[in-house]
């Protein structure tokens, strides 16, 4: 069993739905994005091409973050998910420098979206689950997977660009899409073996 995701760049138009739904699901503090959208532009007028790249942790087969972690807090689970044990993390942020997908964020101090006005009722409840001084990252919504639900970003994506499933199962939707649409991971040349594939725009 190896959880994986396929993101269809032909469908995605950069509506930030994944970013905000993930933020709401995990109550991530300001500046922490388990999922976010990168918007870039290539080409020259008038042959211009917009690229909308939804980013998240790629849950690599050989995670550079796991290698550099000095305390063993980062661990690759048998189902493929790369997660952080928040009791072990020492907050050295080495993993943030090793991750080529910028998927890790440091929760340096208690911070709220309305600043000096203090935490909202939602933040007071939600941020309690995130200890300060440790690194945070996407875990493919492990808590939802346990209840048989799909990750929040997949469920909300208005254009159905995100598909989730088992990469080891050749019959799964993700495997089929990767084959049919020549799915490619981001930065394959780095040899990290990501579990998130992008279908060309």
């Amino acid at each position: 069993m190896r959880y994986g995701m396929v993101i269809d760049l032909k469908r995605c138009f950069g509506c930030y739905g994944c970013q905000v739904s993930c933020k709401a699901e995990h109550a991530t503090p300001p500046g922490v994005f388990f999922a976010r959208v990168v918007k870039r532009e290539t080409g020259t007028y008038p042959n211009v091409r917009k690229v909308y790249l939804p980013m998240l942790c790629m849950h690599c087969e050989i995670p550079p973050c796991e290698a550099v972690c000095p305390t063993g807090a980062t661990v690759k689970r048998p189902d493929g998910i790369v997660d952080i044990d928040r009791e072990l993390c020492v907050g050295c942020r080495y993993c943030m420098q090793a991750c080529p997908y910028e998927a890790r964020y440091f929760n340096d101090r208690a911070r709220w979206y309305f600043g000096a006005q203090g935490p909202t009722e939602y933040e007071a409840l939600g941020y309690a689950q995130h200890p300060v001084g440790v690194v945070m990252k996407c875990n493919f919504c492990a808590h939802r997977l346990e209840h048989g639900q799909l990750p929040s970003c997949v469920v909300t994506c208005p254009t159905k660009a995100r598909t989730f499933g088992d990469l080891d199962d050749p019959q799964s939707e993700v495997s089929r899409l990767i084959k049919e649409r020549c799915g490619e991971p981001l930065h394959p040349e780095l040899g990290t073996g990501p579990s998130v594939y992008f279908l060309p725009a």
């Binding site: 500046g31 870039r40 550079p64 050295c92 420098q97 911070r111 001084g133 690194v135």
Partner: protein, 300 residues
């Protein structure tokens, strides 16, 4: 958000960049880590040379520097209380660096205590402790460069040359530390030998940098943006002022002048100080110029 908004605002602006600058290991408390890398380098180098010459003040200074470096690392950590967990040496350079630093520090302190107590430094125990401390120092010197070099996320750091550069700087830092003590050191050391050593290491460091930069410039888009930061961008002041002028030009000039006509010890101390600050600025500049890999080839 109050006073802490600056990093948040900076992060949001950074996302607009095609190659996002890394901030964690240089801005805010990140500066502690850079200080830690600088101090550990100089401390390790200093210990190696000072103990080789048996110059007590140099040895004590090196130990203090190593301790200070350890403290700086601890203060940088998000959860300092868990420092003892950083023991996974199989794959993590931070783990190796931590153990290296601990070994070097412990062995050095023990060696000093022993030699001071017995008054002799040639006993078998002192010899063993000294070897262990040297081993620790070497690990520290190697750890600093490699900790950056393995980061494939930041092309500018991801180069096998960086460890060599940082080792060269550590050695040079050690020599510079001793130079600092020259006015108080007096005749006990052969000034000429030290000077040449300093010159050689200085040159080698300079060559390393140039070699490093030229390769990196062509390596990939990500690295080119970092080099632009270094040479023309937001890190140019630290690079030209700190690394080049203070770190290389001043010591080389004084060094060459000294070859022509011996200069005062005070001036040589100045050389030491200058090259030490150069050493700090190299680490600061290379950390500051680090940018993450761009994700969309050909994008502005």
């Amino acid at each position: 958000m109050g006073v802490f908004t600056r990093p948040y605002d900076t992060l949001l602006d950074d996302f607009q960049e095609t190659a996002r600058p890394q901030r964690e290991w240089v801005d805010g408390r990140g500066l502690l880590l850079i200080a830690g890398h600088f101090l550990s380098g100089v401390g390790a180098g200093g210990w190696a040379f000072a103990s080789a010459f048996g110059y007590l003040p140099g040895e004590v200074a090196s130990v203090l520097l190593l301790a200070a470096s350890g403290l700086a690392h601890l203060l940088f950590l998000g959860r300092p209380g868990r420092f003892w967990r950083m023991v996974k040496v199989r794959t993590s350079w931070v783990g190796r660096g931590f153990l290296g630093l601990t070994l070097a520090l412990a062995a050095a302190v023990a060696y000093l205590a022993l030699t001071l107590a017995t008054g002799r430094d040639d006993t078998a125990a002192a010899g063993a402790l000294w070897t262990l401390s040297l081993l620790g120092a070497v690990v520290v010197m190697l750890y600093k460069g490699n900790v950056y070099a393995v980061c494939r996320a930041i092309p500018f750091w991801n180069s096998s040359l960086l460890p060599i550069l940082y080792v060269a700087y550590a050695l040079r830092g050690g020599v510079a530390l001793l130079l600092l003590f020259l006015p108080w050191w007096g005749a006990g050391v052969d000034q000429g030998l030290l000077e040449l050593l300093e010159l050689w290491i200085g040159l080698s460091a300079g060559v390393c940098i140039l070699f490093y930069l030229t390769i990196m410039a062509s390596a990939s888009v990500g690295a080119r943006r970092s080099v632009e930061d270094l040479l023309r961008g937001r890190v140019a002041a630290a690079f030209y002022g700190g690394v080049v002028a203070l770190g290389l030009v001043v010591p080389l000039l004084v060094g060459l002048w000294n070859v022509v006509t011996p200069v005062s010890l005070g001036l040589l101390a100045l050389v030491g100080a200058a090259s030490l600050s150069g050493d700090f600025y190299v680490k600061y500049a290379i950390a500051k110029a680090g940018r993450y890999l761009p994700h969309v080839p050909g994008a502005r």
